[in-house]
Symmetry: D2
Subunit: 371 residues, 4 copies
């Protein structure tokens, strides 16, 4: 029985492993509103026996696709796989590769991992930054980095997708057109990001305790945040040179949202070589519009507007603004996403839509919520 036969008229059968964190909850929220999907199981050891509505207060009383409440179960990965066409794993680093090893090749199912286990082309990079041996290097080799705007064709055929990190999504989308154009010095890239606190997960700790986050802005993990190598991998692919970046994350007192401000100095050589004339804010905006033409979830802002996290809140959009600072010869690009949607669950659903050949914005087509 092939996958298409298994899929009944209810739609794609979806399982979520690790549904108790914010990423899992956001997957449930989006998928409950997705017209082509049926959530068939939610696996969580911690919350086994509890309904989704007990775990997430917004989902209280919201029925599963057949009218009953979805209840978390403590299932082996293979049990999940048997009930699904696609599995989303929202689990700690290192767990997804174990899950993948135990099901891929044994059962015909697709896997979208929201952690870091399937994001790197080079297992050595994973091992260096995550201090952990990669246990599934062959599966890693076939996995696709799930940034649809760069790798859509590969995602269509992928069995395993490594869903990008939240910061890398914003940083790569912000810089891709610029890097691809070859107009900037690849050694000059500085990426300054700020994130809402939901990016730190649902486990309470003093650093995310309300009284210590509220009315506070602070940097953390500088230098050496684990999202750095993801950004470098993708920018290097685009530039065909090895790129290293400064990446500095900050925590600001919002729940959702990432605002990335990236800087790159114009490469004098490329700039003068260019037959396209002088670089300007207008020419950069045009470059970005051309690069992302047809993309449903990328909005290039015109001059006079700058991205803000609130404009994309609750949605899968990435808003991008770009400016040329002539005084210093530097390009400044700003990108805003909702870290739980385009930075995690929404992008994962976008990847699922692509993998199953349905409309890319299916279930993701509602406007952001403002204010």
């Amino acid at each position: 029985m092939d996958m298409d036969q298994r899929r009944d008229k209810k739609g794609i059968r979806v399982g979520i492993i690790g549904a108790s964190g914010y990423t899992g909850g956001e997957l449930a929220r989006i998928l409950l509103g997705h017209p082509r999907v049926e959530i068939t199981c939610v696996s969580s050891r911690t919350y086994a026996g509890q309904s989704l509505g007990q775990v997430f207060p917004n989902l209280f009383g919201l029925s599963g696709p057949r009218g009953e409440e979805l209840v978390c179960e403590d299932l082996a990965p293979i049990e999940v796989a048997e009930r699904c066409d696609v599995i989303f794993t929202a689990v700690p680093h290192g767990v997804a590769m174990e899950i993948a090893r135990s099901i891929m090749g044994i059962i015909d199912v697709k896997l979208i991992d929201l952690g870091a286990d399937f994001r790197f082309r080079d297992a050595g990079v994973y091992e260096a930054w995550y201090k952990k041996k990669h246990e599934a290097p062959r599966l890693l080799a076939e996995a696709v980095y799930g940034l649809p705007e760069l790798h859509r064709a590969l995602i269509e055929k992928a069995r395993i997708v490594g869903n990008p990190g939240c910061y890398p999504t914003s940083a790569i989308l912000a810089l891709a057109p610029l890097i691809k154009s070859g107009m900037v010095d690849p050694s000059s890239i500085v990426i300054n990001s700020m994130s809402g606190v939901s990016g730190a997960g649902r486990t309470p700790s003093q650093g995310y305790h309300f009284p210590e986050c509220n009315e506070n802005a602070r940097p953390y993990g500088i230098p050496g945040h684990r999202h750095t190598p993801e950004i470098e991998q993708e920018l290097s692919l685009l530039s065909r040179t090895e790129i290293r970046v400064s990446f500095s994350p900050h925590l600001v007192p919002i729940t959702r949202g990432i605002l990335t401000t990236a800087y790159a100095t114009l490469d004098p050589a490329s700039a003068s070589d260019s037959g396209a004339g002088r670089v300007s804010t207008d020419s950069l905006i045009q470059l970005y519009k051309d690069f992302y033409r047809g993309e449903r979830f990328i909005r290039i802002l015109d001059d006079g507007r700058l991205p803000q996290t609130k404009a994309v809140w609750g949605s899968n959009f990435c808003d991008i603004g770009v400016r040329f600072d002539e005084r210093v010869g530097r390009v400044v690009v700003m990108a805003a996403i909702d870290n739980l949607v385009k930075g995690a669950a929404g992008q994962a659903v976008q990847n699922m839509n692509i993998m199953f050949g349905i409309e890319e914005d299916c279930g993701l087509d509602r406007p952001p919520v403002f204010p």
Copy 2:
């Protein structure tokens, strides 16, 4: 040509008058995601010529139903009416009655007013609290107070609906089962509410300036807030006695959400008369579940959970919790809504759905956003 013929396969043709405030923007957000609706015009004097995406950053680039961007126009009400099956008015008090007078009876269109002009059975009450003569008393007489959980049958046939205020929605839904039961002393009712700042509208002023709202909690308009008579009208109807309440609004530093905590003392007479036995938290929860059985947007919380604004954020739900405080013989009921959805635009769309005989939760069926 009757209304049903005019309505093409694109669905109900909707116009919004006064689309530049938060209520108008929220109507646009919800209606753009409503599968049975086509927004045919958006009227705004202030923003005439600007696209919705210029007025509301979340709506940037989101197409109208025919692919073009919706642009605000400065239209006479009759021009709006000619293009619509239903008009939503999100305008200052006193303006909607003028609009209604200029179109109702002249053209076959329905009207849902999100202001106070069509909320009162007695024009005198409106005039006393709003310090303004009511210019359309006949239309007022036929208007229905648009709280579907209490007046669904009338709304189905209504031509004009006065959409309830945000505070009254939460307070009336919180107290209706209790008042209807007759078990509490009608003179004992105290309603303490807190609201997010979006309830104050989009016009900047010092009281809503970020640095003065943030990290601040404060009462305002005590006593005498204009939402008081709405609450009293509906509770009096339910109790068949004239009820007067203490209503105290407070501002808290959230954008969306109302949390109402209402108090009522058990009427010793009714309580002892009752054959149903002793009042308890359990018996009250059961009373509420029975009263709201089948209601899609009311969630009665079980003991162990209390309502919170975040659990309904971005949705049309009203979450209700009830407790009996035996030590003092008082019932405490708590209700949470999103003031812009169930407290305004969402409830208006719910009313529209009822008036046009379509599924009541059409366009309103996505889960709340958490966290």
Copy 3:
């Protein structure tokens, strides 16, 4: 050697037991700026060996009174007492009574407890609400409830002060003049409070995790919060009848601040008996001004202004506003405090000042911080 001899020119020697929570940190902050005080020891088991600046980032690098950094030590209570004229205990309920038993009577030292152990006149009330046997009933009998505006004369001579809870401070100060006047029905009192999250302490948990508190307003502990009996004890003393109240706490997304809104119905009998004429907002404001005349930390707001937590932020003030709602014959009183200052550490320092006969506002005389 008596206490006055022991006290050197550096001032009152102060010890803090339990300095790692917000209350302990706030004590340190206030006392470091107090010109008549020397902090001689800070006792904390958890943070032993760490400097105050490691525990509280605001105190980094701020020297102790002799130039060195204050370092937390794990000391027995008697060791603390030997170095101090007064000890502040900011410890879990049940611990302070053990500490008191081990030092009072053995060494000449005063004790100000910021927990509940010494707040109740009746050990049975403590035991009923805190589910714990009181181990020091004799010390409890001599302890004074540390609300200076009501019990200043007793505090002056007290050896042990039970510093009031944060909610009770706001509620009792809000209602005292009204209850004392006898004009309201003692059975009609409803107290609705909202608090900032610092009131829940420094230990992280999901309910106080930033993403779940931010943009959220919610009730909790209804009915039956442990601050209820404190309020009832003090109001009953004022009215000379036994008073029971409804008390409902709520959590709002601010760090500091309590805003209490209290309701009481005019007693028809008392009202008509009164020779003072009709009750009005003006007469109530005058009543409050008279009651609190000369109090440095009580500000009675004139008509046209209402209390707000931001107006008292970081200070020992309690701002009070009062209104008469003639339509329903009910008085509404609103009070704002900073829960960590007037609701905890500031009031404790105020008590210390009184106990040592120095200016009551010494160290507490800086204006609130706004915005």
Copy 4:
């Protein structure tokens, strides 16, 4: 009669011109707690006749130095000057130079301007960035840039001080030791800052309306913010070369605080020339500690801690952390200040203390407020 004779035992006589904004209010808050100062007049056209407590709710009921409430007056500058030893001007750009022209040389008074009129050595820079002719170039020539950590000796003797902007204070203090050391490439400097909303002033507008700021992070004024030339002036002085920087301000939903993250690439030449050995985070921290040795308001954080705005809230501290990112050869420096204190009113008072030869932290010695 010289200034010292005019000063009575009440202390320095201070006037504030423009007391209705946040900077003016913060000056009043700090000066009311300053033991060596008497506020003799507060001038405001808008609020003439209102007491400070009506304009700022925190100051309600707080007496002026002689027991009466301070009342705003609409005074000519010369009238203010007659009553003062020093005037603080917290007025729009362009106004302070007019005030200075009308009093300096006519009356013996000192002037500390919190705006931009006296910050630039070159009137042409002011005119280019503020689009306004400088009307008092001679006074500008004698004015001192009021950053005490760099210009203390000049401030001691200054008659006019141009108090630094909030962003420049954080950026210059963050970069000064690095620039002075000559170890970084002066063309590589990127300054990314985020500010609380109080930095935008007290006048309401949509961009600072609570519902649009809350739960939002956004860049603005990129490129070309007016604080850029101030930063460049001071860094250029330190490096003895002309430095141009990228400076990008962002708005985050906090009331107070600036967090600046600055980037500079190691100059390969200088680095290798240096006899001091390899650059490291430790060597940089030592460099900063040496540079700021003895400074009361600069706290250099040890490795393991990073600056956060909350740690300096309400205080005159600037917390600085520095890291070396060896992978990319770039230094990252982070600085946190309270924009209204060290970034405005507190630094102005620090300057006053220096100008009058009193303790530099007089009135500024209370710890930051946390949490």
